[in-house]
């Protein structure tokens, strides 16, 4: 016998269900209905129906199957009404309503597919056939359930730009027949990489802004992209174990642990050596280190796990001086073997300078300065400037800091470089 609850308690319960399970309901509805928009409508209809019916009937014993089933029926009803006006209405209806007769049985069987439905949604939104911008927007909209307005704020775009991006992405999914599926084993590795990239970009998007901006000027709640990315990485790992998923989650947690120490009250960037490490979040650090250990123990080690291991070494040191720089340098060497990019080489050189001093590091700088891939990379010039500054070669340092300032685009980076220029120019 279902329990009847006071209206406000019930409304809160339904809101909670929405927050916790609406993505699952949506993911399954997309599979059952074969269409993103139809499934989104059905999701809203299902929750509206719950708000009307549950005060009278009580909360069903299994609310999530109820919502999926109700959403599906509402969609079928709607298609029946529109059948005459939609060219392929009849075919679609035949496909999605075929197993209507034994709905409860079908849904029961379906529950085994739920984790896969969520993964199907993730893999479809992060399909490399979509532009990276579209993947990011679609993932935030469909997988994380953010509104178009929230996504627009997070990317400093207008809501109509984001809405258009999402509409176009959905059109491509439909027109080009991007399948709603978890890739088969032989394609899984590259497709997982694509998902990791989306999650990492989302995190960086949130991480590059000073914290405590959860409420914007007009009082609207700002989406915390870094937290969304972490939640997403957790979900992905829980549904499908993979070394790099584990390494990625570890990396995000360890970076996120430092967020309170990364900016001054005025939003100025504070670099790692100058951060107050007592502000680092020890709970996130131990959670991150646990995942690093799992990733490293699994044998097949990838770039995210190595970067996480580097972050873990920093997390275990009380300050820059007592950091195990030889280990960090060795990890960067390993990373450079997997990802021989100039940016990794630059990081490796910074670690080298911490082991052997700035003079030795300066000797290894010319090939990086000659690398055209780094010609626009402000951090290369900031690093070069810093080596000279440590050696007391102020005029060389000034030249490189000015070069870095010309290239820096992030306001926090610019402010930092201006500060360094001021310090060095002072008599």
């Amino acid at each position: 016998m279902p329990m009847l609850q006071p209206a406000t308690v019930l409304t809160r319960h339904i809101e909670q269900l929405y927050q916790q399970h609406s993505r699952q309901v949506l993911a399954t509805l997309i599979r059952l209905l074969g269409d993103f928009d139809r499934a989104e409508d059905a999701l809203q209809e299902a929750f509206s129906a719950a708000l009307v019916q549950w005060p009278l009937t009580g909360v069903p014993a299994s609310p999530v199957p109820w919502l999926i089933s109700t959403g599906r029926f509402k969609a079928i009803d709607k298609l029946r009404q529109q059948q005459r006006f939609v060219s392929d209405g009849e075919t679609v209806l035949a496909q999605i309503a075929s197993d209507e007769a034994d709905d409860s049985f079908v849904l029961q069987m379906d529950q085994q597919q739920w984790p896969d439905d969520y993964l199907r949604l993730v893999f479809t939104c992060c399909h490399p056939a979509l532009s990276m911008e579209a993947q990011l927007a679609l993932t935030l909209r469909e997988v994380c359930g953010l509104t178009t307005e929230q996504i627009a704020r997070a990317f400093l775009q207008t809501p109509s730009t984001i809405a258009q991006r999402i509409v176009r992405a959905k059109q491509k999914i439909k027109a080009a027949a991007i399948p709603y599926q978890v890739p088969p084993p032989q394609q899984l590795a590259p497709r997982l990489q694509a998902v990791h990239k989306v999650i990492y970009l989302l995190f960086n998007e949130g991480y590059s802004m000073p914290g405590n901006q959860s409420v914007s000027d007009d009082g609207m709640l700002q989406a915390d992209l870094a937290q969304q990315a972490i939640d997403l990485a957790k979900q992905l790992l829980a549904l499908h174990f993979d070394t790099e998923s584990c390494g990625l989650l570890a990396l995000l947690l360890l970076q996120h642990a430092r967020r309170q120490a990364r900016f001054t009250a005025h939003g100025e960037l504070i670099l790692l050596p100058e951060q107050q490490r007592q502000l680092w979040d020890q709970v996130l650090i131990s959670e991150g280190i646990r995942h690093v250990e799992t990733a490293l123990a699994s044998g097949r080690i990838g770039p995210y796990a190595i970067q996480a291991a580097i972050a873990a070494v920093h997390s275990e040191s009380t300050d820059s001086a007592s950091t195990d720089w030889p280990q960090i340098h060795a990890l960067y060497q390993l990373l450079h073997r997997l990802e021989p990019t100039p940016v990794v080489a630059l990081n490796q050189l910074v670690a080298f300078s911490m082991c052997h001093g700035p003079a030795a590091a300066l000797l290894q700088l010319p090939p990086l300065l000659a690398d055209e891939n780094l010609a626009q990379y402000h951090l290369l010039f900031a690093v070069a400037a810093d080596f000279h500054r440590q050696l007391g070669q102020n005029s060389e340092a000034l030249i490189f800091y000015r070069q870095a300032l010309l290239l820096a685009t992030n306001p926090a980076d610019q402010q930092f470089l201006q500060q360094r220029l001021l310090e060095l120019s002072a008599p």
Binding site: S87, A129, A175, A176, A177, I178, P179, Q181, P183, Q187
Partner: protein, 114 residues
């Protein structure tokens, strides 16, 4: 779903790079796709120097020498395939030997609304 896979490459380089495919390899891959039952048509094309572009304007046929657009990469051939979905189409396209030196644009075929 039908997909048209358009193979583009720089004509000057298509046959002269170390990883350039020989005709026999292209023939073999086409045969493989045909055997899988997914091939509707596939052909390699003569160079753009042999192309003639046709336009109808005000009832008049206008002819011009060469392809309609000057681009760095030219259409070198095509596959018209039947695939379950985009993933399958992309998988087939990735196997086209010329993809190693050029690129393959995969386009779903549109049903005319009549």
């Amino acid at each position: 779903m039908k997909y048209l896979c358009l193979v583009y490459s720089n004509e000057q380089l298509l046959h002269s790079l170390p990883e350039s495919p020989k005709d026999a390899e292209c023939q073999a891959y086409a045969g493989q796709v045909a055997q899988s039952g997914r091939m509707l048509a596939a052909e390699a094309l003569q160079g753009v120097a042999t192309a003639t572009t046709v336009r109808m304007r005000a009832g008049q046929v206008l002819l011009s020498d060469g392809p309609f657009a000057e681009t760095k990469e030219q259409l070198a051939g095509f596959y018209l395939i039947e695939a379950r979905d985009l993933n399958e189409a992309l998988h087939l396209a990735a196997g086209i030997p010329a993809a190693r030196v050029g690129c393959v644009e995969v386009r779903p075929v549109r049903q005319l609304v009549v």
